[in-house]
Amino acid sequence: MKTQELLDKLIDAEKNIVPDSELKKKILTETTEQQHKHYVLWPKLAIAASIAIVFMLGVKLGGKFNVHEAAYSSIVIDDNKIENLDFYSDAVYE
């Protein structure tokens, strides 16, 4: 079968391809890097968790601050009660 012969020739030729001699070294380097990446992740997680905790504490703390109505009204300034504001207002100028 000629088709089979062609197939066999291609396969036999490809079976003779040899990988780079440095391939094992590349594999070992990458497995070491992957291992290192795994350990380096923890500090990042700790920082992210700290930021999240501080943020949540801030929100909770802010929620505890309730301004009393009367106290609130005392700090709101009514523009009309400012002395001599009439001089600067078009509505009352004559």
Binding site: K9, L10, I11, A13, E14, I17, L23, I27, L28, T31
Partner: protein
């Protein structure tokens, strides 16, 4: 040293035994990868990816199947994923061909081209690559690894009868696609 002993030593932190594992199985993994991708550099990338996955997953290896069966399954999966990822790259390579740029299937990279001719090699590879995944896997393991049908069945998790069918269909498909080459 048996595979189980090697694995035990690696998991106990004796990582130098991983080098022994690589020495033992790298040729077989490379051969399977070449059967899928036909290009040395791509096959090397696959080998690298396979052994990194093995290293990361070794703790989860339960031993239900033999280590070599497990390793071949990873190799097949990584090879097929590599091909799917590079489908777009292959399209670019085809476009490069049209523009007469150098491509990875050039004669310098594959000795098969010198033996059976560049064009014939390209057609044969295209025919193998057009096989459905399971047929292609069975074909590669059978022809490149000279693997018995029983072992192929374990890797593919099918019966031996199913493997025989896959190989028959692959053979028929290839004969049909390559019959115009006969007589050239």
């Amino acid at each position: 040293m048996q595979d189980s002993e090697l694995i035990e030593n690696i998991l106990n932190g004796k990582t130098q035994y991983f080098e022994v594992l690589i020495d033992k199985y790298q040729p077989a993994v490379f051969l399977t990868a070449i059967g899928f991708v036909h290009v040395k550099e791509d096959a090397e990338d696959i080998v690298q990816e396979v052994f990194v996955k093995v290293y990361q997953s070794l703790a989860g290896f339960k031993g239900d199947a033999s280590f070599s069966t497990w390793l071949y399954r990873i190799t097949v999966n990584v090879s097929l994923n590599h091909l799917n990822r590079n489908k777009f790259r292959l399209l670019i390579g085809f476009t490069d061909n049209l523009l007469h740029h150098e491509n990875r299937y050039s004669e310098d990279l594959n000795p098969a081209d010198e033996i059976i001719g560049n064009e014939n090699a390209r057609i044969i590879r295209k025919a193998i690559d057009s096989l459905p995944d399971k047929q292609r896997t069975a074909f590669v393991l059978s022809k490149y690894e000279d693997m018995p049908q029983k072992q192929i069945a374990e890797i593919l998790q099918v019966t031996e009868g199913a493997v025989e069918q896959l190989l028959q269909r692959a053979k028929q498909s290839l004969q049909k696609k390559l019959k115009h080459l006969v007589g050239k």
